[in-house]
């Protein structure tokens, strides 16, 4: 059965058809929730809530991109989770979950164990940087840079304008970059960003 047929059946209350859609989208939904919430349990709760809401809301689905529709419900569920679990304003690196707890797919298995460990370290920092972002920037950055959605798709999911996507993403990326820069000495040497060059002709430079 193709997606349209499954959607049509699910709209009529066919749980089995809906569950086929769940199987197809649960990986995306869980990963978005995890990157936004940075907590496996909260991410699982948000994902489950999202799919339950989606099933109930199926009759309201008016065509278009089902992926965008599901992601909108997932991000709303994440907002709810954020509200429930008052996130700590800053997360220390000690609190960051070690991602080795999860099995994940490695695209390049030729990586040496050293590199693997170092890469994991970098990933923890990136996740911590994402975690520092205000919620609206975090959502845009996760959808765009982690999941690879286009500006148009992100705008659709979050129901915001293209210009808003552009500016939130710009600020979010700069903040993550600065987060990594600030902790540069903690990162493995190969993942350290080069320092900012001294600017000339900066009459109004604040620093």
């Amino acid at each position: 059965m193709d997606e349209d047929a499954l959607i049509a059946a699910a709209r009529k209350g066919d749980v089995r058809a809906f569950n086929q859609l769940v199987v197809h989208y649960q990986g995306l939904a869980y990963n978005v929730a995890y990157r936004i919430l940075n907590d496996p349990d909260a991410a699982a709760d948000a994902t489950q809530d999202a799919f339950l809401s989606a099933y109930k809301a199926m009759p309201k689905f008016r065509g278009g991109s089902f992926k965008s529709w599901v992601l909108r419900i997932v991000t709303n569920a994440c907002y709810d989770q954020l509200r429930v679990k008052q996130r700590r304003p800053t997360s220390s690196l000690d609190d960051l979950p070690v991602e080795a707890d999860h099995t994940f797919y490695l695209e390049d298995t030729s990586e040496l164990p050293d590199e693997f460990v170092e890469r994991q370290e970098l990933n923890r920092f990136i996740q911590a940087g994402i975690n520092e972002l205000p919620a609206e920037q975090r959502l845009v950055l996760v959808l765009s840079d982690v999941q690879g959605l286009s500006y148009q798709e992100v705008a659709e999911v979050l129901d915001i304008s293209l210009g808003t996507v552009k500016s939130r993403l710009s600020r979010g990326r700069a903040k993550v970059r600065d987060f990594l820069l600030e902790r540069g000495e903690l990162l493995p040497p190969r993942y350290r960003l080069s320092g900012k060059p001294e600017r000339q002709n900066t009459g109004g430079h604040a620093q």
């Binding site: 749980v15 769940v22 999860h102 994402i130 710009s170 990326r173 900066t202 009459g203």
Partner: protein, 324 residues
Amino acid sequence: MSWLGTQRETEHQYYEEQLSAYLDGELLPREQEAVEQHLAGCPSCRWSLETLRQTVQWTSELPVLRVPRTFMIPVPAEPARARRRWRLVPALQGVTALVALLLFFAVAGDVMLTGLARQSTPEPQVVTLSKEATRPVEAPEAVIVETVVVEKEVEGLMAQEAPQAEASDAAEAEAKMLQAAPADVLTVTAIARIRATEAPAGMGGGTEVAAEEAAAAAAPAPAGDTRAAEPTLALEAPAVPPTPTALPTLAPEPTVAALAPPPAPAAEGEALSMPGALEESEREYGSRPALLTWVRWGEYVLGVLLIVLVGTTIGAMVWRRSRR
């Protein structure tokens, strides 16, 4: 100089903010060109662009996590029950329709059989309803034979009695025949009979009026209302006896009564409502086939079954709607 510096700083900030979209190729060609011009003369922005590119690259390489469990919605028992209910209602509807069809065939068969039976006594009817006197007797001889036996028997009985006693005798004979009928019906019949016999013989007009009255009374009666229909028919039966042809003894035969209002649609229902009397007479005189009896029984059973099924089906449909 300070003003110029602020101006340049604002411009620099503007371009720095464009770098993210520039990376993604999301700028208009004109904007892209402007950014590139700025980049050429701004090492800070070149650095910014490079570090942003690296950050975006690393972010996009974050591992895809495997879901810790499935997020499929459990298929609850509720929808399964709903599905079963969905099948139950059409099944009920189908069975109800089938029973209704069977009942229709039973009634049709009954009407045909009754039609044959009623032709066995065409004589009194034709004479009574003078308007239709010209209608020929179409009943085949074979069908009449059994009736003739009945006629002779009852006639013989009648011959011994005084004309005055005719009415009560006939009423008795009828009562015998209508053993299965309720008492009140018999009473009404007896009263009607007495009234009918009081009319002078040969007054065909009066008889006709009585027959028409009966027909009129029978017509509006609902087909299913057997109780109401019976007295009407019983009333009509005695209307026949005081005809000039002096064939009163046959009149109580309910077949004749049922025959009287043939154009009225309710007449069929009335004919059906008299099975008790008909069966009785048939059994007594050892005539009409047992087939008709079976058909009548089938009608009863199917009728009751149909009522129960219609009730159950409607109940199930209402329940399903209320559940949804």
